[in-house]
């Protein structure tokens, strides 16, 4: 009997110790890596947005085709780190509550500036779809008279953004700036991005499409706001920041936040809303960076963000690496084959998103891929969608394997006696 017990103990003990120590040590270390990567990504986004701000200021001081081009290039670069942060959105309330200010999409751009006649006017969903603030120093919004004689960050953030409670009234963030730099993409499914002339920002008689001063004022206000919003978010992830503190408050909830962010971005947001829906609608405007034709990169860097959060290693915009104990390490300790499955699927997704990116860069642009009956485009886009859907199943398996499924939810607040109302 004694020998049996000894064997049993000998068999059980090593597992018990390694499991306990692996999990106990790893949880806080894994969360630490996740928070460090968030800090680095938002800091990089801020640095890139500041460079965009410098280019925008240069454009406004001395408008020229070259200056507009430089601002566009700075915008494109600024998207690279920012898109990689999107994996933090859905798991972290502090990010999700804030995100709409900087990356809201899709937008009814007629709210901001002039649009082509094919755009249409106010719609059932949005009375202000064609408001054109650049051309309107005064207007009525939901019954109130608005003084927009000076276009300031405050006006954009507090009055115009999501005006009338309509989400597509996007007055701030990357896509508002994108529209002001590129203008509408009127090429339909044809190749080419928006082609706003630099003279839309020119002074005096050189000014095209009127209100160049106000357009410049809008561009400056939106860019300044983007920088200050990113400054705020970067601060939330430094030592002592609220994003970090919320994450660390409960380790299991923190791990769950990582996986929620990965799964929600992969499935509902990217595979569904941003990729598959656009394909099914065959609409060239249903692409995430539609003015600049940068959607292939937007998708690619979203996917990369999911992958680098799982692997716990992020390459910064200056080439330095932020890394540490990762969710991948933790999963591997629990179930090595599940970790291999997850890594394999993330790689497959990146391969598929990479194909979209390289093909678009070679000249077959994302809006062409969405065209009705374009089988090659559909195959490319669906490759990305399928990869993202498939990786979500493995993310769900990880949630189950790490026993993160018993998270406490808030109680209910129903009325005391709702039946009375129906009597």
């Amino acid at each position: 009997m004694k020998s049996v017990r000894l064997i049993a103990k000998a068999m059980v003990l090593p597992f018990a110790i390694s499991a306990t120590s692996a999990l106990a040590v790893d949880k806080s270390a894994v969360l630490d890596t996740y928070a460090n990567i968030a800090a680095a990504k938002y800091q990089d986004s801020l640095i890139a947005a500041q460079s965009l701000q410098a280019s925008v200021n240069a454009l406004l001081v001395d408008p020229s085709a070259e200056a507009l081009q430089a601002a566009k290039e700075a915008w494109l670069k600024s998207r690279i780190p920012y898109q990689q942060t999107e994996v933090y959105r859905f798991g972290n309330a502090i990010v999700d509550d804030w995100e709409g200010k900087v990356n809201a999409w899709p937008l009814d751009e007629g709210l901001i500036d002039y649009v082509d006649t094919s755009y249409g006017g106010p719609s059932d969903e949005n009375e202000y779809a064609a408001l054109n603030v650049v051309a309107s120093p005064k207007f009525t919004l939901s019954g109130s008279e608005i003084d927009a004689s000076s276009i300031t960050p405050t006006l954009l953030a507090e009055t115009l953004h999501e005006a009338d409670g309509v989400e597509s009234n996007v007055a701030t963030g990357y896509h508002a700036v994108e529209f002001l730099l590129w203008g509408q993409d009127l090429n339909g499914h044809g190749n080419g991005a928006g082609a706003r002339p630099w003279t839309d920002f020119a002074a005096g008689n050189a000014c095209t499409n009127d209100n160049c001063d106000r357009r410049g004022e809008y561009l400056k206000a939106a860019t300044d706001l983007l920088v200050s919003d990113l400054e705020w978010m970067a601060a939330q992830w430094t030592e002592g920041g609220a994003g970090r503190a919320d994450l660390m408050a409960d380790q299991d909830a923190g791990l769950s936040a990582i996986l929620t962010g990965m799964g929600s971005l992969s499935y509902g947001e990217q595979a569904g809303e941003r990729m598959r829906l656009g394909l099914m609608l065959n609409d060239p405007e249903e692409e995430h960076d539609c003015f600049s034709d940068n959607t292939h990169n937007s998708h690619y860097f979203d996917g990369l963000g999911v992958q680098n959060v799982y692997l716990g290693s992020y390459v910064r915009i200056d080439g330095t690496v932020v890394s540490g104990p990762s969710l991948a390490d933790m999963v591997a300790a629990e179930d090595a084959s599940l970790d291999a499955e997850m890594r394999g699927k993330l790689s497959a997704t990146m391969m598929a998103l990479g194909l979209i990116k390289t093909t678009a860069e070679a000249g077959f642009s994302y809006d062409q891929m969405l065209e009705r009956g374009n089988a090659a485009g559909e195959t490319l886009v669906m490759g990305g969608v399928n990869g993202l859907v498939d990786q979500t199943r493995s993310i769900e398996r990880i949630v189950a394997a790490l026993d993160l499924d018993e998270i406490e939810f808030e109680g209910s607040d129903s009325l005391d006696d709702p039946e009375a109302v129906f009597q």
């Binding site: 929600s264 499935y267 099914m280």
Partner: protein, 338 residues
Amino acid sequence: MKQIIFALVYLASATLAFGQGEKERTQAIVNEHILPRFEMLADKSADLAQVAQRDCAARSEPLRDAYANAFDAWIAASHLRFGPTEIDDRAYALAFWPDSRGYTPKTLKTLIRTKDPIVQKVEDYAEVSISARGFYALEFLIYDPVLSVEGEDQYRCDLVQTIAEDISFLAENIYMDWKSEYARSMIMPSLAGRYISEEEAVQELFKALSTGLQFTSDMRLGRPLGTFDRPRPRRAEAWRSGRSLHHVTISLSALRDIALKLAPLGSPLERRVGLAFDRALSQLAKLDDPVFASVAKVQTRIKVEIIQQSVDSIREIVRDELGPELGVIAGFNAMDGD
């Protein structure tokens, strides 16, 4: 020692019993909840296609009746968004809603205005934007005062017939796939299959329930409710055909059925789930407002708000009690994201 062995045996048999329960539960849901719904959808959609061939006029009563029956059948199955409904975008093509950017009228108008010949063959029509396919597009053509008279009668008639036929193809294909292969893959999970364990199959069914409840609360009720300051009655589902409230009732009845089949038979939880659904359904029965027009008035919107709260209290029981009871999580769904 004996005690320990006894405990171990007991534990093992409990696990075994649990496993069998899951298999039977999945089997019952597939055979009694899922297959009959998709069979009904296929049948009623075939009727719709036939009626449209004979009579394509927007005001035709037989057409409107056939449309109503097929749409009812879809709503009763609309929570079952996995497997065969997701192949080739079938469910999206049957039911593109909400359409917050107004794609459906825009795309239909373009087809009619340009007399796009793609409408001549139903196989080609599968290439068309989902916004101009399925029940919601057909609703515009039959009920919208502008689109039901737009352009040439003949073209619009072709469009009605092709969309109805397309619906019928989609419904038939969904049912065929369920019957031929998918039902089996759910009932008999295998390492090589889509569901590697019984838990995964149960999780899929649980997810259908929780996502269906979320859709009914957030979209079917939440969209017209809008906010207190800015109600949005025109965002109600299928208001042109007067079906908004009706859809909430059909979907909740279907969700009630799957919820009760998931809950342990004869348990207090089963009873509580049933009561929570009954409460919401009885409130709906008393609401005399087919398109939720009442949300626009302060005095009357409270009833719709309360119905939404009743649906949300079902969601809480499902999430906090039924989920843990089944040992599954809701997982990710298409409504994650913004």
